[in-house]
């Protein structure tokens, strides 16, 4: 089990990590999610042993790793650009970590064979790295980091350089393969959808700290603060004192909240043209924009008197822009933010 205790780091004055605490349990995949520059890659590099001037402790099963250099840790790390060795074949790439461990050549050959099968590249052993597609390179990189049976697998935006279609497909595969090996994994990404799909728990990072650590479901339904909510793509964020509509929501659902308290109206809790639900607050608005996205339509509703915009998803058709509409918001849709 990996444990980070009060981890801090600065690059020439600029603080990149501030008192980070995190535990990654056995068999658990933890995603570090956050915008670029939030410190997630720094954290990964500290755990990998590539950065050594940090404060705090990195413990593996209670053992301090500070004095172990990167090459002595026995971790797996997958890079965003895959960092495959361009002068070696697929097999030699996968065998690299095994050779460094002075494994017997026959065992290496067997292990490489097994890894190739596991990532679905059975016949690719002798291929040149340069001849592989992006997806194939990703698999080789994964096989290479898994081959030496690391104690911990780290992945730094491993799908970042692939196109969107491939990304969705490989994200699932990746989770299955990692889960199949029973490894603990730290997975860095800036894409919340990817994190939802892969992680057991997600640590949302912002400016060097972990703002929220939760299971994907809980994170999606209960982001703790405005930054986290915005980073997860939510936009219906207001203060209770903003206008008549928000004050009405407070009176009805959260009477003890203050004017300056921020809150999120979760888009899943907004309904259109569902008049007559006594548990909801209904309000007249106008469709300001309406974008067809396939399974759903993304709708922005303007409440003209309040000058307030609400976003939600409509699953029954794409409403015409300009049409007036009734929005109803239920109690469950209101999430207080810190």
């Amino acid at each position: 089990m990996l444990q980070l205790k009060d981890l801090s780091h600065a690059y020439d004055e600029a603080v990149s990590l501030r008192n980070v605490n995190l535990r990654v349990a056995k068999d658990e995949i933890v995603c570090l999610l956050g915008p670029s520059g939030c410190g997630k890659t720094t954290l990964l590099r500290i755990v990998a042993g590539l950065i050594s001037d940090y404060e705090g402790d990195v413990l593996l099963d209670g053992r301090d790793l500070r004095r172990l250099a990167a090459h002595e840790r026995g971790f797996g790390l997958m890079f965003q650009d895959f960092a495959l060795f361009p002068h070696m074949s697929v097999s030699d790439n996968i065998a690299y970590g095994l050779r460094r461990r002075r494994m017997a050549p026959t065992d290496i050959a067997l292990r490489v064979e097994l890894m190739l099968d596991q990532v679905g590249l059975g016949a690719y052993g002798e291929r040149d790295i340069g001849t592989l597609s992006g997806g194939e390179q990703q698999r080789v990189a994964l096989a290479r980091s898994l081959a030496p049976e690391p104690n911990l697998l780290m992945l730094d935006e491993p799908l970042g350089s692939l196109d969107a279609l491939l990304r969705d497909k490989l994200a699932l595969e990746l989770r299955e393969i990692i889960k199949g090996t029973g490894l603990s994994a730290l997975y860095v990404t800036h894409d919340h959808r990817e994190a939802y799909a892969i992680a057991d728990r997600i640590a949302v990072m912002d400016r060097g700290t972990i703002r929220q650590l939760d299971r994907p479901f809980d994170l999606y339904h209960h982001p703790v603060d405005e930054n986290v909510a915005r980073f997860l793509g939510f936009s219906n964020i207001f203060q209770f004192g903003d206008n008549r509509f928000t004050r009405e929501l407070r009176c009805r659902f959260l009477p003890d909240a203050a004017d300056s308290d921020a809150f999120l109206i979760h888009p899943d809790g907004i309904e259109l043209d569902n008049v007559g639900d006594p548990a909801a607050i209904a309000h007249r608005g106008r469709i300001e924009s309406s974008v067809f996205r396939g399974e759903y339509s993304e709708v922005t509703i303007l409440l003209p008197q309040e000058g307030l915009r609400l976003r939600c998803k409509s699953r029954n058709g794409t409403p015409t822009v300009g049409r007036s509409v009734t929005v109803s918001v239920k109690s469950e849709a209101i999430r207080r933010l810190n």
């Binding site: 590539l50 990167a70 026995g74 790390l77 690299y96 970590g97 460094r100 290479r144």
Partner: protein, 553 residues
């Protein structure tokens, strides 16, 4: 980063010590002899340099001939670069790469090649005399400024051509098409689009060519003579012929200051060049109209005439006698007929040169590679070391040679009598070439590749063995070949430091040319062809090894 721990720094001491002993110490010695020839500050040599019309004239002439050479080179290379960047034709890339052959050719060889083409005993004169039954030589170019300028164009044409072609190709044609659509005619295109766009490359090429021609030594010494002495030739003349060391020192100081100024200007211009290269798609298109075809043919013939006729004339002169193959010139190399001129048979100089080149290459490789690792390593040391290691490149060979004889001829470092002084001086000239060849491929290794290896269990030494060295092997081979050819052809420094028994091919050729006898001239021809072949072979190896992006030359 790579050579971590205490070992790393010990290894790093090697190039630094080498530079301190064989670059800075000789430079200080020059400073010493120029400013305090008798042990106390005495600026008289300097004041004489600045107040005497003669020396001022030398300086101005150096500037003048460099300006003239640069202008003519650019004037000829500009239209050729235009054709190269705009048209696709068979053999284009081969020609572009062949055109850089002069870069590895020793000055003595080129000087003799031009002499055998347009010199007093040259092919052109022979031909004209036979054709028109003349009893005098109609072409009189030896010992003129014209031939010096022409040879400078020969040397620098390809550099200007490559810089401008590359830049123009990378720029793309979009701006030109936009201007055309907006109503620009051909004249306006040149004035408003093409020339302004090529300007950074033009300036950068100009600075480089100016720098090379400013320090030109062998060409001026052999083809121009003392009448057209540049600073370099004057340093040699003052130091060796007149033994006026304070004046040679003062001239060297002037030269060093001028070169550093030029180098700074060039680096500055080059930075602008790199940042300005945008994303343009290939603009070359096939030749269509007869006008375009004649344009391309004109350029191809011009390049052949400029670059290859002198070399062919040299080879023909060395092996043809009255139209028949005659290898007697080569056979004569084993004879040491004129004992007073040379102390060894010319052929022994070939053995000397090969031996020195092998030693210099090994030393240049070791020092150059350690230096490259130092430069890519992170931290303040690298930032400091990079320009420091490139200083020898900005110092002329003559200055280095002069520094060697004034610094290394007395304890604590007395190498004057040792043959080692030659490979050491060659190493100093050659190792920057190794650095410039290795550095780009070393820099091209993404840090993540190294880190991936580290995380997979590679110790620092494994990293060097399994990642760094295999990935830069081509660059190392290119650097080694460069070092070898540079050492084989090195003239300026060798002329200062070579002793009777340890003379190298270029020095022997120079001595042979200086001798009025026909036999010596023929021996010089044969020697030059041998050297030409060695360097051409090196050139072919470099070009074959050079993948896109290897080498900064």
């Amino acid at each position: 980063m790579r050579l971590r721990g205490s070992y790393g720094y010990v290894v790093y001491l090697l190039p630094l010590t080498f530079l301190a002993l064989f670059y800075f110490y000789p430079l200080l010695a020059i400073l010493d002899i120029g400013l305090r020839p008798d042990g106390w500050l005495d600026l008289s040599a300097f004041l004489r340099l600045l107040s005497t019309d003669y020396y001022l004239g030398v300086f101005l002439f150096t500037l003048y001939q460099a300006t003239l050479s640069t202008a003519l080179t650019l004037f000829l290379a500009l239209p050729c670069a235009y054709v190269f960047s705009r048209y696709r034709f068979a053999g284009k890339s081969l020609l572009l790469s062949l055109a850089t052959l002069p870069f590895v050719l020793p000055t003595v060889v080129v000087a003799l090649a031009f002499m055998s083409l347009v010199g007093r005993r040259g092919l052109v004169n022979d031909l004209l005399m036979t054709l028109f039954s003349l009893d005098y030589t109609p072409v009189q170019l030896e010992r003129t400024l014209a031939i010096v300028i022409i040879v400078h164009v020969f040397y620098n044409f390809a550099i200007a051509l490559r810089i401008m072609t590359g830049y123009w190709s990378a720029q793309g044609i979009a701006a030109e098409e936009a201007a055309r659509v907006l109503g620009a005619d051909e004249w306006a295109l040149w004035r408003d689009i093409r020339l302004p766009l090529i300007q950074p490359a033009l300036l950068s090429a100009a600075a480089l060519v100016f720098m090379f021609t400013f320090t030109s030594f062998g060409v001026v010494l052999i083809l121009g003579g003392i009448r057209f002495a540049t600073l370099e030739v004057q340093i040699y003349y003052q130091a060796i012929s007149l033994f006026n060391l304070p004046m040679a020192g003062a001239l060297s100081l002037l030269q060093i200051v001028a070169m550093f100024a030029l180098m700074t200007a060039y680096t500055h211009l080059q930075r602008g060049l790199q940042s300005a290269i945008g994303a343009g798609k290939a603009v070359a298109r096939p030749v269509k109209s007869p006008r375009e075809r004649s344009l391309v043919w004109g350029v191809v013939i011009f390049i052949f005439a400029l670059l290859f006729t002198p070399l062919l004339a040299l080879v023909a002169r060395s092996a043809l006698n009255n139209g028949a193959l005659d290898m007697s010139n080569y056979a004569a190399l084993a004879e040491s007929s004129r004992g007073s001129l040379l102390f060894i048979a010319p052929i022994e100089a070939v053995a000397n040169s090969l031996r020195f080149a092998l030693i210099s290459t090994s030393m240049a490789l070791i020092i150059g590679m350690i230096a490259s690792f130092m430069i890519v390593g992170r931290g303040g040391l690298a930032r400091l070391v990079d320009p420091l290691l490139m200083l020898p490149l900005a110092t002329s060979a003559v200055t280095l040679g002069f520094g060697f004889i004034v610094a290394l001829d007395e304890p604590p470092l007395n190498l004057r009598a040792s043959w080692l002084i030659i490979p050491i001086s060659h190493t100093l000239v050659a190792f920057p070439f190794v650095v410039r060849s290795v550095l780009p491929s070393l820099r091209a290794i993404p840090s993540s590749v190294r880190e991936a290896a580290q995380v997979l269990g590679a110790r620092p030494f494994d990293l060097l063995r399994t990642i760094d060295l295999p990935l830069v092997s081509r660059g190392i081979a290119v650097g080694a070949t460069f070092a070898f050819t540079v050492s084989m052809g090195e003239f300026g420094a060798s002329l200062f430091v070579a002793q009777r028994e340890s003379v190298t091919i270029p020095v022997v050729i120079y001595r042979l040319i200086g001798d009025p006898g026909l036999a010596s001239y023929r021996q010089a021809l044969a020697m030059s062809v041998i050297l030409l072949l060695v360097c051409a072979l090196g050139f072919v190896m470099i070009e074959r090894l050079r993948v896109a992006g290897v080498g900064e030359f």
